[in-house]
Point group: C2
Chain length 198, copies 2
């Protein structure tokens, strides 16, 4: 029984380990010689696997940096769906981002190592923006599923995501306060700034 | 005298004409055979110029679609700088976007022809997002120059841009109202949505 369970679990665990090794190899190579001078084959070789294995895990050498987005998306859309009925869109999104804090904190060490590489590489910056756009589309759908009308759902998802991104940036510049505090502060700034639109 | 003036003006006018021809050739080819199957050399050949001339005008075959952004950026940052002293950040941005309406309207025919190509081409979508991020950075600087403190300037520039983009999308779906009306409506939606964050 124990053996069976282990062998069943061994497949994904092994796949995850290869994935992590490819991600670590990519980060090392991008730091050592730059993104442009690194090929998928180089990353595979450094990780001790074939190029074919690389492409079984990632569609291209940008994607290696962004696979955590799927987990974040699922967590956020699940949290939006679970917010009490009658909660307005931006408060619902604020609550969802608060629920994502443990996930963000868990990924922080690797996020911090990747950040300078992304900042220095237009191709990775563009993919990062595309991933954020994907998150916004998923949050728009999640708000729509709560009965928020179309043009408002898209606006709120985008504005909510940008307020979250502002909180992440402020937290990176000031780790003295935790991400929960920065989230509340950024959403409060949004409220005050928008209040001047009368 | 007249001859001198004409010959001085002829250089940029001719350059602009080549630029427009390259942009039209790129649009035609992307529609005919797709972005991926079109090279810079193909675009140059269709426009009747050399590949070298292509690269004198554009850094790559994505950039052909996005050179209007520089004009929009200059107009918006100039408008933010010219808003009466004491105007709060989001109202200042709303005023700037209203001033950009004639430029947007003038570009509308080509924008509408490019839109389906961009929507169908991840590489162009990513460049489009990167261009918008560049606009946000320029607007952040423009707000900072008005004395808006740092974390608020970046948040407002991003949220203002989101609201403008929402207005553009709504206008594309409903040309019955003009862009000014859609801008006011989107900024009012933002105010009401943010008001629920108390």
């Amino acid at each position: 029984m124990t053996d069976d369970c282990d062998s069943v679990r061994a497949v994904p665990r092994n796949g995850d380990e290869v994935r992590l090794r490819l991600q670590e190899a990519a980060l090392e190579l991008y730091l050592e010689r730059g993104y442009d001078k690194t090929t998928a084959a180089d990353i595979a070789a450094r990780a001790g696997v074939t190029e074919r294995t690389f492409f079984r895990h990632f569609t291209d050498k940008r994607e290696v940096f962004f696979d955590g987005e799927a987990e974040l998306r699922d967590l956020l859309t699940g949290a939006v769906a679970a917010v009490p009925a009658g909660t307005r869109p931006l408060p619902a999104l604020r609550a969802a981002f608060h629920q994502a804090v443990p996930l963000i904190e868990r990924h922080l060490p690797v996020t911090e190592r990747r950040a300078p590489v992304i900042a220095a590489t237009p191709a990775l910056q563009e993919r990062s923006l595309a991933k954020t756009a994907g998150l916004v589309a998923a949050l728009t759908d999640a708000l729509r599923a709560r009965g928020v009308a179309e043009p408002l759902a898209a606006l709120c998802a985008q504005v909510g995501m940008d307020t979250y991104s502002a909180a992440i940036r402020r937290w990176a510049a000031d780790r003295g306060d935790d991400l929960h505090t920065h989230l509340d502060r950024a959403f409060n700034d949004l409220r005050l700034a928008a209040n001047a639109l009368k």
